[in-house]
Symmetry: C2
Subunit: 540 residues, 2 copies
């Protein structure tokens, strides 16, 4: 299916950092040919006997892969999804199947608890490796053939290992101007700083990237031109933007030109929700029931950078945190084999293998579901997030008077921006045209197309006492909201450059997550938000 | 029970490395007071709804805590332990109990899968934290009261976090002259080097430690006087030595004097096997059946450094790898709260929390077993290792002519050393006194008192062609053994200073693990070893 794949990636080994270069290769490597040889008795490793592992079997009751409907229409008509959201109150209704991992299975190809709980699975259980390789091949379709998949303990561990493998202290990392704070926190102590690139509705802008690299002056900047990019291209954190194929091609080509490695942190890939359509204009979706529904679904998603990575300069980070559970602490790298070897060594001296209990349960779940079942699960999950996104934006539109507008500057240039005003004092009364025209915007947002978050820009210039730079307005409002019972993500937390926030001090920001709260609470939270914001701006 | 405990440790915060000092404190810390407040709706974090975790329950069949007898005598008389060693062939005989972790338990104090699989358990499940605190208090009895326990993902992760928290690049770490190679591999890339301290039968020598610190000359050594020690005091890897209380006191006092932090990596604490007694003189042990058997057992063990740590300068690393299973990827720090806070931050940007599947299964197991049950399990496990140690040394004594001797120099000074010679050509014949006297020693060893390993010193000066330094003799013999079907740990791998091995080139070393192989294979391996070593030295 990938007849156009290149046979080999180019040699990118010169990107490996000094630290990673000096990591020991396994000293027993040359000796390993004896280790697995039939009949050889190994007394070399410090392995306990599996007889001493106290678990003789572990098992789980797992939801069936079609637990969630694949479209919002299906959900709305049946309402059967409701008990799933409030699963706590009626778990007995859930349809589950049993999976079990015995310490000593009868067939050698089965997942084996005695192996999963032993040392020596730093590259992952063989059955998991096999599943991931097939999954990457069919879903992400890398443009070269000799890519490697390697397990890690979640994307935070993954990024932390990649950063130390590719960056020397005192270097810079290209990233979106608003970004995931932990990614920066993990590299800041070793003197690696963010180099923010401007954003628009698709996330990182290619023209800003080119300008930054083209005009790089080491003397002015104080650090060499960055050769590593950290990006969340789908469900961008915090903005919720989704980057399509053509933008990715533009950025990839610039990275080829300036020899930049792209680290694609993509936890929200399967939470692609598409354009928000207001309730009144929303047409019920008819879920595809054709035989190739799963592959058509995959084709409908914005692709990974891997799809265009003919040189092997993409390190993709996948995680089960959003698709199974955060406590899985399991994910994987997809990258060229040269980087993978160094990343494996980095794992050996820190986390070693991911937990064997989690690995074996998740592997057995994937084996039971099979590829098609897992894709079906992911489709259902994506539909849940789309439903949640729609529900939350609907709530905002209920509580505020929201006007669509097209931004002509800033990070939302070209986007359909929703600008929120206070509602007229009472439902019945009608404001005069004049008073409507005089109203000031409270906040604005672009409905996210992927992920878990709505990114609000609060227009503090509408605040009565707004004058000169007042950096504490964002936190003043944050505290007022928290005191009233709603906690949001404060915007300053997500600035790549906290000293020089992209929107200056004119605007504040909040990141609101619609992923976790019960729907009732989302409704209640928007009502509290409307009341407090109204009071704060005192528009009466 | 710890009335003599000091109220507070001294402030050791100046030991924190530059890197660790600059690690972000959680930016939302000041805001966290709102997070858990009843009635507050949090839309701040990127948490998936627990409704989307596909596991509704996980469960396990776990061995009962008294699965293994507490003494070798009990084992020998009943032989019932045999099926446990060869558990694979008759697992049905194992006595197990069922444990289960539902996503939404009915009681709030129960282990909760929806919480275990969510983000935010970087300090561990509350039930696990509670168990560990009680366990440390009763087993290790720290000499000060405000110590902290904090989970990590195994001692390799633990040590890796400690090293980066306490050491700056270009510093040295005090350690045994023979040591665990991965501990050095994890810090070597950041320019941290081992400073080897001579050993004797209790492991690290206090006089050598004092001499090293006293005579430290930064100009000669090129690095500042070390302020961190990495030590495996029980079941020392590779030597198998056990350090008693009085030696620990000597070393602790020196560390107070020279302000050194002791990192106690202690995975083999519960594998304390005691002195080896040859089969002929071995008296069957009568297991204690008194009510206070478990506490008497704890008192019989060589204590942790924590017992004498009145200043909070010990960072203890515990792991479930040897007591439950290596695939647990779960362990914990015990240390002063100042270090613990920095270690927690280091975890947040790398591994985050240990896997929720493993954490909840292990926590539930410990809850089911209770403290006394877990101690009973550990006693049984220790007896298994004692039995294995005895069995393997018995095998060596069967295959070679072994003479006890007292070493007067080198790392075995003062030990009862077992020196092995080839056996007389046939069982019936008797060697003349003269030929006995002319025999050359093949290898020697000190039976380990704890842990998983026998550390053999091979006397290559007995080798016919031995002349000048021949560094490849160790590996030549290693390959000959491997070709014949026995793989051992090559000695050079364990030298703290590979360039300048403690015993020079006169001797080679092998580390032999008796922890994993079936007893038949241990027997077979010693027979092969005897044949190959005999041929290698060509003593005929």
């Amino acid at each position: 299916m990938n007849s156009e794949k290149k046979e080999n990636a180019i040699d990118l080994s010169y990107h490996i950092s000094d630290l990673a270069r000096s990591r020991q290769t396994s000293p027993l490597k040359g000796l390993s040919k004896y280790m697995g040889r039939p009949g050889v008795i190994s007394l070399a490793g410090g392995l306990p006997s599996a007889a001493y592992f106290p678990f003789s079997t572990i098992s789980g009751e797992a939801l069936v892969s079609e637990s969630f409907p694949v479209s919002v229409a299906e959900q709305s008509s049946s309402l059967s999804w409701l008990w799933k959201i409030f699963g706590a109150s009626s778990p007995s209704k859930e349809k589950t199947s049993h999976l079990s991992i015995p310490k000593y299975p009868s067939r050698p190809d089965e997942v084996n608890l005695s192996a999963a709980l032993q040392y020596g699975t730093a590259t992952g259980l063989p059955q998991l490796q096999g599943f991931l390789k097939d999954f990457v091949d069919r879903v992400y379709q890398p443009a070269y053939s000799d890519y490697t998949t390697l397990v890690h303990t979640g994307n935070t561990d993954g990024w932390s290992r990649v950063a130390s493998t590719l960056c020397n202290p005192g270097e810079g990392i290209l990233t979106e101007e608003w970004t995931y704070p932990s990614a920066l926190a993990s590299v800041a102590p070793v003197g690696i700083q963010a180099v923010p690139i401007a954003m628009d509705k698709e996330g990182m802008r290619s023209d800003s990237l080119r300008a930054t690299l083209e005009q790089w002056d080491e003397k002015v900047r104080g650090i060499p031109r960055p050769h590593v990019m950290y990006t969340v291209p789908i469900g961008q954190n915090p903005s919720g933007a989704t980057m399509g194929l053509s933008r990715k091609k533009e950025i990839y080509d610039i990275c080829v030109e300036y020899d930049v490695i792209i680290v694609e942190d993509d936890p929200y890939f399967f939470l692609q929700e598409g354009q928000y359509i207001p309730k009144a204009r929303r047409v019920p979706e008819v879920p595809s029931t054709t035989l190739d529904a799963e592959s058509r679904y995959i084709s409908s998603l914005a692709p990974s950078y891997l799809r265009i990575d003919y040189q092997g300069r993409v390190v993709r980070l996948d995680t089960f945190s959003k698709t199974i559970a955060p406590g899985s602490r399991l994910g994987w790298f997809t990258c060229n084999p040269v980087f993978a070897e160094r990343l494996e060594r980095a794992g050996e001296v820190s986390t070693q293998a991911p937990c064997g209990f989690g690995q074996s349960l998740i592997t057995q779940l994937l084996i039971n579901w099979k590829y098609d079942g897992y894709i079906r699960w992911l489709r259902g999950l994506g539909a849940q997030y789309k439903m949640r996104r729609d529900y939350f934006i609907d709530c905002l539109l209920d509580e505020f008077d929201v006007k669509p507008s097209v931004a002509t500057e800033g990070c939302w240039t070209g986007c359909d921006v929703y600008v929120a005003f206070s509602k007229p004092p009472s439902q019945g009364s009608v404001m005069s045209e004049k008073s409507v025209a005089l109203r000031k915007p409270l906040f604005s947002f672009v409905p996210p197309t992927s992920g878990m978050f709505v990114w609000l820009k609060i227009h503090f210039q509408s605040y009565p006492s707004y004058g000169d730079r007042d950096e504490t307005l964002e936190m003043k409002l944050w505290v007022a909201l928290a005191e009233a019972g709603v906690v949001l993500g404060p915007g300053w937390f997500f600035a790549a450059d906290i000293e020089d926030s992209p929107d200056g001090a004119r605007d504040g920001h909040f990141r609101i997550s619609f992923s976790n709260a019960e729907l009732d609470d989302l409704k209640k939270a928007t009502q509290i938000f409307a009341r407090i914001v109204g009071e704060f701006f005192d528009t009466s």
